[in-house]
Symmetry: C2
Subunit: 530 residues, 2 copies
Amino acid sequence: MPNGVEEGMEAEGGDHREISVAEFFEKNKHLLGFENAQKSIITVVKEAVDNSLDACEQDDILPEVHVIIDEYDDEKCRVEIRDNAIGLDRETIPKVFGKLLYGSKFHKLQQSRGQQGIGISASAMYAQLTTGEPVTVYSKQEGEPCHKFVVRIDTEKNEPEILEDEIIEPESDEFPGDKDYFFDHGTTIEMNIEAKYTRGHHSVRNYLKHTAIMNPYARVVLKEPDGNKIEYPRVSKELPEKPKEIKPHLHGVELGVVLRMVDNSNARTVSSFLQKEFTRVGRTSAEQVCEEAEIESGRRPNTLDKDEVEDLLKAAENVKLQSPPTDCLSPIGEDLMEKGLTKELNPEFTETITRKPTVYKGNPFQVEVGLAWGGDIEDEGSFEELRYANKVPLLYKKSACVTTKAIENVSWNRYNISQTGNRPQGPLYISIHIASVWVPFTSEGKEAVANYDPIRKEMKLALQEAGRKLGKYLKRKERREIQEKKKRQLTSYAKEMAPAIAALADEGNEAEMEDKIQQLVQNDYNPEQL
Amino acid sequence: MPNGVEEGMEAEGGDHREISVAEFFEKNKHLLGFENAQKSIITVVKEAVDNSLDACEQDDILPEVHVIIDEYDDEKCRVEIRDNAIGLDRETIPKVFGKLLYGSKFHKLQQSRGQQGIGISASAMYAQLTTGEPVTVYSKQEGEPCHKFVVRIDTEKNEPEILEDEIIEPESDEFPGDKDYFFDHGTTIEMNIEAKYTRGHHSVRNYLKHTAIMNPYARVVLKEPDGNKIEYPRVSKELPEKPKEIKPHLHGVELGVVLRMVDNSNARTVSSFLQKEFTRVGRTSAEQVCEEAEIESGRRPNTLDKDEVEDLLKAAENVKLQSPPTDCLSPIGEDLMEKGLTKELNPEFTETITRKPTVYKGNPFQVEVGLAWGGDIEDEGSFEELRYANKVPLLYKKSACVTTKAIENVSWNRYNISQTGNRPQGPLYISIHIASVWVPFTSEGKEAVANYDPIRKEMKLALQEAGRKLGKYLKRKERREIQEKKKRQLTSYAKEMAPAIAALADEGNEAEMEDKIQQLVQNDYNPEQL
């Protein structure tokens, strides 16, 4: 018997069992942003507001989002988020809020705030875990009745359990109740959670302020526990272009995924399979790929074995294909970004850059950068960073985020901006936005973006471009200030200069006199040299 | 009609669908450690070796683990990991390797390397995604036939798909085939993955070396792609005390979890429910909790409503309960840790500290620290860090890890160790181990431990304790070196001193003479003062 084996040992199998994804994330709730009472309330608001904005944009509705927070007990809050989106149909409601890994965005290659189908149901799970309370959802579609659901999650099964399911009258006391607003369509979620409502950088208020900057076409209203009401007004009635769904690109897709696509496709030939299931593959490129792979293009796709599919993918690498289309992206754009920064920060100078779309690992993405300087922005020593992914503010894990690395890669002192180490100093806000069909977050909590080379490079280029403009502005400003100073000096020396100028005037040489004064103002002339 | 609504919009519900947890992690494979070809091979080896060591210890088997890696194509490797554990029963095999969130450790409060039921099946998923190949598993229990399974994951369902299921003869060509070892019981997994086999800090070799240090009772053999064979020998036949499973503690359990326990319990009274389901609750404390909560202790648990359960939990906070038992933990211990450090690093000085167990958020944990200095350890400027969680080496995300924060919290220069910033310098290895029933990792990839106050505090205390010892050693060493230096000086001045000593000798005053010499050696005497 081998070393150390005791008799009567049992097989390992006995204790094995399935773990529901809800159990998994309940125990690992810190991975989703539910680390503590302060952060959890931001996470809940974030997940709900993200969903609301996504839903509004999806149907070209100018978003109207209300966040109402009440403290009802020690470290317990009632949180309500209401939107004017299109509303959910009756069958969908319980699953959206009562089942993890359920949603409409995961399987689409299209830019959206949510991408996982976890956020809002995990918030409901957190509510249930910390206060024992189910969530209440109202949802109404235009011209339809309003559905009220009270739902909890059966954590062991990851399935919703419906406690109430009724139709209510929008005009009744229950809806909108004591609310000072009313929408003809939209969704409202109410939940009770363990929470600590705070101010400062890590706060619901700051989260919504950052949201307002990047979504200036939304109207967001926050009612704080002390009754204080803050409105982030809409400053633009223009919605960004709606992103379109795209197919995967042959360069950047994984073998295992293609094997599955081959099995599921109803295309009749390999050629039509390639054209139908992938973006940027026309008849000619499809034939080229097949030829390069030495595979008959007219074969049925499901007759391909693993090696042949691998050959196809390798062959595709040698065939020139256009980059994926970028209408799957919806950047905010330079104008709107400037409007957002201006309305919330009121700076003296703003520069915004939207880069052209590009691709990482087959995924289209696009970077936008805004710099805001001076004005109401106070010089607190270091700059402030506004990080966004698909228009969603990122408040945590700054040091792990690609945005921070990109900022540190720029030589700011080239642009007349002083640096401490490799970080710029002064009354400066740096806003960086990555829009992508799939943002590579470093965790489910979506707090930081992975430091991928192509992404960091794009960010650096955008920062440099905006930095140059800010640098020019600061240079001009500095020159103006020097001139102003000289003008003041000139005035104070006026008496001494008066005779010389008078002499020129006496000579009737007014042109020369004015030149002299102009020279004094512009150049390094010392008035005493006159 | 409200602002911006277009006609003919459709409900949001249409596109919603379920996302399988396998699809989720396939798309988010970077969260599990499958970021790139270099890291992925380490992750695969890590997950398999962790499972092997857990399985061996579970049944008091001295672990024997073989890792065999072959390159079979450009950036493609065949990886095989074999252990001498107890083996899996036939029914369990396909699910362990072909289904995510399936395992024996998640639902237990007991220290183990694995805790999520994701690692090894995610490795199989990664294999399938990158090479299209299923995994092959051999598992044999003592006195039973050897089962061979070829399994793939149906990603859309997260269920195993069995391609082969047969019994093979251990003596046949197929098993052990061209292998130079044979076990009577154990499990072997073989998979083909996209991989880049490298050397250096982030490598399979370094991972196994670190593993060997913390698991000196294991024998680990690595065969590298170039045929090079490295053995990490067993230096102890003593297994650490096996951890025991515990029940949750009333201080630190969440309301939602207790509500579920109330529903599932077959206890007849609230009092017996508290005693049965929680650790450290005896009859007296159970009655006390009920009394404090003003709840009749003889009631049936399932008659309790949410508010009453909440009252019970609040009441429990005011009742003194013993800390959870700590036999759920299995630290490696000071002796074994020293053996591990010594065999792999061969330092001139080693100090190891195992702290007493303590508790964070209701979870028992224990910290161990080892310092190794000099000898074969080269002074590369900065120290080297060995980070462990439940005996598993952590190679990535150092800067985000509580261990790094703890090291930076110690004033190393107090212990005769020079610092750059707040990091110690010199020929130094710092090994830190946290053992816990639930390690709070910052991601599923289990790469860094969250910076929780009680954990950091324990680590700091352990580092200080070991640091003091190292400091004393360095002080003694320095003193000895100064003395040696003086002795040498003394010798070189011997001629000059000779007459003075000779005079004393002439006087026959040998005692005084020896004193003189001793003084010279020990004190700050300058030989010229003689």
